[in-house]
């Protein structure tokens, strides 16, 4: 078994016992159950959970990820004195933190769906897309958090950078796209806007979920465009590829910096 998997295994145990994992599980179970109580439409419940996933989850994951890294500096330093490759250490820890968070979200969302919704075959792709977007949001923003914390030793600056990135991606970006679409309304904008939106993982996760749901117009301008432009299969492939790239890019950045870092 490689060192990375061993580190991942024990990191998972550690994070599974953390308060955030329990909070995620309870929050998503309760929130999803309440949504079903007030709204019997599966698509409406999915859209509401998605809005949480693309607004607050990135911030929470960024802050948790940076806090986790800063608080684990002693552990990381000690592990670096063991015969372990730096890349294996970071990847093992990152996966060990990410997967319990993903797992608790998925359980928290899936169980109320199984209990309260009238699951039919038609709604399964949308539920799958919702769970996949949760998965990617956690992986991407945790990788970003690790990248920030490795880059920036100063805790306060690291948190500041995390909040700034969240503000740019979650709030300003859609406004920026809307501005472009209004300003250049006379031009064919579908392709440029699709390209621009792929630079934002939050938009991508939203689009990925919305192309499986007939509620795209509710969830921002880029979502509506994507659904018009791509049909489900093509859109899914493009979105998943872009989301995977978005996961790998900050992770590669984190690994690159970590390999060259002094501790």
């Amino acid at each position: 078994m490689s060192d990375m998997i061993k580190i991942f295994k024990y990191q998972t145990r550690d994070v599974m016992r953390s308060r955030l994992v329990i909070f995620y599980l309870l929050f998503f179970s309760l929130f999803t159950s309440l949504l079903f109580y007030f709204n019997s439409e599966t698509s409406g419940v999915i859209a509401n959970i998605l809005s949480i996933n693309v607004s607050f989850m990135p911030l929470l994951t960024l802050l948790y990820g940076t806090t986790f890294y800063y608080n684990s500096k002693g552990y990381i330093l000690f592990m670096l004195t063991q015969p372990v490759k730096r890349a294996n250490l970071v990847t093992g820890i990152w996966l060990g933190v990410a997967l319990p968070l993903v797992f608790s979200q998925l359980i928290g969302i899936t169980v109320p769906f199984l209990i309260f919704s009238n699951l039919d075959v038609e709604s399964l792709p949308a539920i799958g897309a919702l769970l996949s977007s949760s998965f990617f949001i956690t992986l991407i923003f945790l990788a970003l958090a690790f990248f920030i914390a490795i880059l920036q030793d100063d805790k306060a600056k690291g948190f500041g950078l995390s909040i700034t990135i969240w503000f740019l991606l979650a709030l300003l970006y859609d406004g920026f796209i809307l501005g472009i679409s209004v300003f250049f309304a006379d031009y064919p904008l579908e392709l440029p806007l699709l390209i621009i939106s792929s630079f934002n993982p939050i938009d991508l996760a939203r689009i990925f979920c919305l192309i499986h749901l007939d509620a795209s117009a509710l969830m921002g301008y880029t979502g509506a465009i994507f659904q018009d432009y791509f049909q489900s299969i093509t859109g899914s492939v493009v979105s998943i590829t872009a989301l995977t790239l978005w996961t790998l890019m900050p992770l590669s950045g984190a690994l690159y910096k970590f390999k060259k870092k002094d501790f």
Partner: protein, 240 residues
């Protein structure tokens, strides 16, 4: 055991290590001493591979450490601050390291047992006191039968009886041929354990030799006074 040649390290325009050349012989107990900011920690971290030097070379046990992590199999490291995930149990923290160190099958559990850590094995790390964490770190440093022990302030946060147990263990493994490299601000402890001293000041090695010789040069029976005297001395700038 350890050969360091022309080692230099600069942090943000501040040269912390200025061309260090040292040889630490197998089976010795060497203490690195010096005031805060003298470069002791950076030197230790360079040997451990935590700090990447800008120039120079370090070899441990005959093999150069550059771009290698396997040489650390020879090292048992006792950090000043513990490094275990807070929610893991004691036995899980040990198991993690044992899983990583498949090269060792016959663990040295003498210190683990002497410290009575068995009774804490099912406790989570976050529920342990600072002293118990230090005992755990110390027990782990010896567990994989290293040939080189690097101890950073080994007795800090240990009670007197645990401190005696640890020092006895250091002497015992040293008698068996293990090389020990330690840092400490407690000079009587250095006097008690070390046979060689490396005195560092402003990134340079200002003295390297036996403890007895240093005391003789400074004409004092106290190592603490001998070190204090060197700090007050004026030195010519060291080789940069």
């Amino acid at each position: 055991m350890i050969t360091i040649t022309g080692l230099k390290k600069t942090y943000k325009h501040h040269q912390v290590l200025k061309s260090i050349d040292i040889e630490i012989h197998s089976g010795s107990v060497t203490a690195i001493v010096g005031p805060n900011g003298s470069g002791k920690t950076t030197l230790l971290k360079s040997i451990l591979g935590l700090v990447i030097p800008e120039s120079g070379s370090i070899s441990v046990g005959g093999s150069t450490i550059k771009n290698s992590d396997q040489y650390r199999k020879q090292i048992g490291y006792l950090p000043q601050n513990h490094g275990f995930p807070a929610n893991l149990k004691v036995k899980e923290s040990i198991k993690l390291l044992q899983d990583l160190r498949t090269d060792v099958k016959d663990y040295d559990l003498e210190l683990y047992e002497a410290f009575g850590l068995e009774e804490y094995k099912n406790k989570q790390i976050k529920h342990l006191s600072g002293g118990t964490l230090q005992k755990l770190s110390a027990a782990i440093a010896f567990m994989f039968r290293p040939t080189l022990l690097i101890l950073d302030e080994p007795t800090s946060s240990l009670d007197p009886s645990a401190s005696i147990l640890l020092k006895d263990k250091i002497r015992k493994v040293n008698d068996e041929g293990v090389t020990v490299l330690l840092t400490s601000h407690i000079m009587p402890e250095v006097d008690e354990l070390a046979d060689e001293v490396i005195f560092m000041l402003e990134g340079c090695v200002r003295y390297k030799g036996s403890v007895t010789e240093l005391k003789n040069i400074q004409e004092t029976p106290s190592l603490e006074k001998a070190v204090a005297n060197i700090i007050k001395m004026e030195f010519s700038p060291c080789l940069i």
